[in-house]
Amino acid sequence: MAESLIRNVWLIPLLPLLGGLIAILGGRRLNGWNHIPVVAGIGLSFLLSAIILLGMEGAHETEAYSWIGIAPTSSAADPSSGPNGWSLVVPVEFRVDGLTIMMLTMVTFVAALVAVFAAGYMVGDPGYPRFFFVFGLFVFSMTGLVSSSNFLLTYAFWEGVGVCSYLLIGFWYAKPAAAEAAKKAFLVNRVGDFGFAIALFLLWTYAPNHDLSYANILTIETRDALANTELLFGQSALFWIVALLFWGATAKSAQIPLYVWLPDAMEGPTPVSALIHAATMVTAGVYLLARTSLLLAAEPALQMVVAVIGCATALLAALIALTQTDLKRVLAYSTVSQIGFMFMGIGAGVGHIAQFAIIGALFHLFTHAFFKALLFLGSGSVMHAMGGVIDMRRFSGLRHRMPYTCWTFAIGALALCGLPPFAGFWSKDEILASLKAAGHDEHVASGGVYTGIYWVATFTALLTAFYTGRAFFLTFFGPEKLPSPDDPEALGADDHHGAHASSDHAALGVDTPAPDSPELSRYEAAMGSHRPEVGSHAPGASATPHEPASHGHGHDDGHHGHDSHFGHESPPIMTVPLMVLAAGAVLVGILFGPPTHWFGHLIEETPSFELLGHGEHAFDWGTAVSGTLAGLIGLGLAALMYARRTEIPARISALVPPLAKASWNKFYVDEIYALLIVTPTRLVATACRYFDVYVVDGLVRLVAFVPRLIGGDALRPIQNGLIQSYAVMTAMGVALLLIVLMFVG
C-alpha cells in the first residue's frame, strides 16, 4: 500500500486541487456545499500522507513526468563544462523522505481542520466557492512545495503559495484595506523571490550537469564544488547561493527586514490567517533553509547571520506584540517572533550539533503549526461571535459566554508560552538547548554570540508568555463586556490605527466590510449577493457610529447575557476543529518530542541530513528550567496586570513613554520603509517620466517623421486593402529572390 502510494505521491497535491476545481466549477450549483469537495480532498490527502508516514522507510524519489527536457548533445555533455555547456531539464519529480512526509502530514492535517472551521466561518459569503477554490489551490501548492524534489519545481510551487496568499489576503477585494494588504504582501514577497530566483540561476550555472534536483545539489561533492568556485567579492558561489536563499526565506517567513507584510495580512479571512499566515506558508522559508541546511552548514558566518536575524526578529516582534490591542495582530507578531525562534534554531546548526539544531527548529515548526492554528482559529471564533470586532479593548470576560473557545484558547496560549507538558515547551526547549550548546561548543568560532542569543531568546520567551497571557486575560477575563458603537475605545481605535490602511474600518473589525458603507455596496455589487451573516449575527456591528444603535445591545453589557443572536458560542463545526487542534497542542510534544524521539528519527531519514554533524545530546535540564521559569514569570506578570484590570500597565507605559509609544507604533518600521525606499523610488520614477516624455518620445517622433516623409506618396497606393495584392507581392518577391540567387550567386 505504502509502496504504491509513494510511487504516486503526486496524488497528495492533486486531490486538494481537484476538490478546489470542483468547488469553483460547481459554483452556485453546489448550493453552499462547496466546502465538501475541498474538505474531502484535503482529508484524503491527509489519509494518504499518514499511510505513507506509517509505512515509509528511507527516502524515495518519483518522477511524475518530464515536462521540458533540453539536453546537451553528446559533445557538450561534459559535466565540467560549466556555464558553457547548456542543458535544462524540468522534470516534475516528487520525493518522499522524513522532512517531506512530516510537512505533508502536518500541512494536510491542519489544512483539513481549518477547512472544516472555514466551512462554518465563511457561511453565507458570496465568495464561498472562490474561497474554497483558492484554499484547495493553496493546499495543492503547499504540498507540492514540500514534496517536490527539484529546486525549480519548488520555486514554481513557492510562487504558487505566494499567489494563493495574495488571493486570500485580498479575498474581500472590494475592501481597500484588504486590497492594500494583499498588494503589500505580494510586493514584499517579490523582493524575496527575486533573491530565490537569482540563487536558482546561480545554482543552475554552477551545479554539475545543470541538474537542479535535490539529489544532485544536496551532496558533499556539489557543496565542495560550489565552495571552490570564486564568484564575487572574494566569496564563493556557495556563499552567494546560500545568502540569496536566505534572502528568499526571510521574505516568505516574515523575518527582518521583510516581515512587514505579515501583520497586514491579517486583513484576510481568519481561517486564512490560521492556515497560511501562521501554520504553513510562512514556515516555507524555514523549510527551505532546513532543506538546504547541508549547504548552509558550510558557511558558519551565514549561520551566524541567520541566528542573529532570527533573534532580532523574535525580540522586535515580541516587543511590538506587547502593546497591540488587535487580537489577530498580537498573534501575527507572535508568529513572526516564533519563526524567529525557528531561524535561531537553523542558525545554531553548527559543528556537531547541526542535526540536533535543525531537528529542533523543524520540531518547533511542527508544534507551532498546531498551537498557532489553534490560537488563530480561537480568535476567529471570538471574532465570529463579536460580529467582526477584534479589538481587545472592546470586549472582555468572554469565558462564560464562550467556554469551548476560551479553554481551547488557553491550551494554545500555554503551548505558546512554552510551559510543560504542552507542545511548545518541548520544541522551544530544543531550540534553546541547541543555542546553548552552540555557545559552549569550542569548535565554533564565536560562541559568545550564540550565548548572547541564548539569553535574548530566553528573555523573548518571557515576553512571549507575557503578551500571550495579556491577550488571553484581556479577552476572556475581567468584567463581561461586548462591543458596542458607543464604546469610547471604538472611536479611539481610529486614532491609533491611523497609520494603517484599515483605519476606516477599525471600528468594524477586519473581517467584514462596513455595512451601509460604499465599500460594502461595491463589494456586494462585485459579488452579486448579500452577506446574510452581517445582519443576522452582528446587529451590534451593523450600527455604524453615525447611527445610534437602535437594537439596544450596546448600552448595558451586563444585562443581556442571554441574547441569542450575539456573543454566543460558535457552532460545533467551528469548535470541533478547535478541540482537535487543542488535543494536538497538548499531545504532539509528548508523542513526537524528546520523550519518544519519534520526530527526530523521522527527520533523520532525510538523506542530506545524515551528512550533517551529529553527536549525543542529553535532555538539558538547565534550559528546560530556565525556559519554564521565563514562561511562568511572563504569564504570572500578565495575570497580575491584566486578569483583573489594574492600573499597572498604564503606569508602566507612563514610566517609559518613548518605548511604549514606539512599541505601539510598531517601532516605526513602515514609516522608515516609506522614507527609505518608497520616496526615493518615486523620485527616480518622476525623473524617468520626464526623461521618457521629453527625450525618448522626442527621438521616437523624430524617427517616425522620416518614413512618413518617404512613404507618404510612394508607398501609400500599395496598401489598397485587398489581400491578394499583398499576396502577389509576397509571391513575386519570393520567386524573384530565388531566381536572382539562382543566376547571380
Binding site: W67, I68, V728, L738, I739, L741, M742, G745
Partner: protein, 291 residues
C-alpha cells in the same frame, strides 16, 4: 548560369510559359465573360503539356507497383490542383481539392507516413472539406455568382504562380547532392542543404537542441522493411515534442472557443435592419454553428 545546364533551363522555361498560357486560358475571364470552348481546349492542352513536362524531373521509385502508384498519385495531385483553381463552381473546386488531398495521402503512404495519410484523410477530406462544402452549398445554393465566373487579373496571377513554380523547381534540381567535389557549394540549393547531416549543417544548432535519440528511427531501415510506425511517432510526440503537443492542443482549444464566439448568431449591428436581416440570416448561420 553555372548551376543549371541549358537543357534544364529550357525545360523549366517551357513549363513556366506553357503553364502560364494554359492556366490563363483555363481561368475565368476577368469580367465574367464566357470563353469559347476552343480556348478551354487549348488551355487544357497547354496545361497538360506543362504538367507532363514536370514528369522528367521525377525519378521512378522502387518496384513496378510503387512506380505505378507514385506516378498516378502525382499526376492526380497535379491535375486536381489545376482543376481546383480553375473550376467555375466552388463545389467542384472543393471536390477537386479532395482529390488532391487523397492523392497526397497516397504519396504520404508511399513515403511511409501511414498515420499522417489516415490523419490527413480524416481531418481534411472527412471534416474540413465537407464543412466547406456545407458553407458553399448554403451560401450559393443557386448557380454561379459573378465573382466565381471572373478571375482577378488572371494573366498576372498565373505568371506569378508559374514563376514561383519555376524558381522552386530550379532550386530543387540545382545540383547539390550530386555535385562533384570541385564545384562551388551553393547554399540555396535544396540538394546541398538536404545533403548535409543535421549535426554540422546550417541547422545544426536547431537539430542538436531539438532531437534526442528517440526522434530518430531506431536504426537505418533495411531494403523494403517498414518501420513500426504509430508507436514510434507517438513516442516521439510525447517525449521530444511534448511541448509542441501541448501548444497545439491549446491552439485547438482556443480556435474552438473562437469559432463558437464568432459564429454564434448575434444581434444585427445595424439597428435599422433588425427586422429584415434576422429572418433570412439565421437560417444560414445555424448549420455553421453546428459544424
Amino acid at each position: 548560369m553555372t548551376l543549371l545546364d541549358s537543357r534544364d533551363l529550357a525545360l523549366i522555361a517551357a513549363i513556366v510559359a506553357l503553364g502560364w498560357v494554359g492556366i490563363w486560358l483555363l481561368l475565368p475571364h476577368r469580367h465574367g465573360g464566357v470563353k469559347t470552348a476552343r480556348a478551354y481546349r487549348v488551355g487544357a492542352l497547354l496545361s497538360a503539356i506543362a504538367v507532363l513536362l514536370v514528369l522528367p524531373y521525377l525519378t521512378p521509385p522502387g518496384d513496378l507497383l510503387a512506380r505505378l502508384f507514385f506516378y498516378s498519385f502525382s499526376l492526380l495531385a497535379l491535375l486536381g490542383a489545376v482543376l481546383m483553381i480553375t473550376a467555375r463552381n466552388p463545389v467542384n473546386s472543393a471536390l477537386w481539392f479532395a482529390v488532391v488531398v487523397l492523392s497526397s495521402s497516397g504519396l504520404f503512404l508511399l513515403a511511409g507516413a501511414q498515420f499522417l495519410a489516415a490523419g490527413t484523410v480524416i481531418v481534411y477530406a472527412g471534416a474540413i472539406i465537407v464543412t466547406f462544402l456545407f458553407v458553399i452549398m448554403l451560401a450559393q445554393s443557386h448557380g454561379q455568382a459573378i465573382y466565381d465566373r471572373s478571375a482577378r487579373r488572371p494573366l498576372a496571377a498565373s505568371l506569378t504562380g508559374m514563376l514561383l513554380l519555376g524558381a522552386l523547381i530550379s532550386a530543387i534540381i540545382a545540383p547539390g547532392a550530386t555535385r562533384k567535389d570541385g564545384d562551388p557549394a551553393p547554399i540555396y540549393s535544396v540538394g546541398a542543404i538536404a545533403d548535409q547531416p543535421p549535426a554540422d549543417g546550417p541547422i545544426a544548432a536547431v537539430t542538436a537542441q531539438a532531437l534526442t535519440e528517440t526522434s530518430r528511427l531506431p536504426r537505418p531501415l533495411e531494403q523494403g522493411e517498414t518501420p513500426a510506425h504509430v508507436a514510434g511517432l507517438g513516442a516521439t510526440l510525447f517525449t521530444d515534442h511534448l511541448l509542441t503537443v501541448q501548444v497545439v492542443g491549446l491552439l485547438l482549444f482556443v480556435a474552438l472557443i473562437g469559432a463558437v464566439a464568432i459564429a454564434t448568431p448575434k444581434a444585427p449591428i445595424r439597428p435599422d435592419r433588425s427586422t429584415a436581416s434576422s429572418s433570412p440570416g439565421s437560417a444560414t448561420t445555424n448549420p455553421g454553428g453546428v459544424s
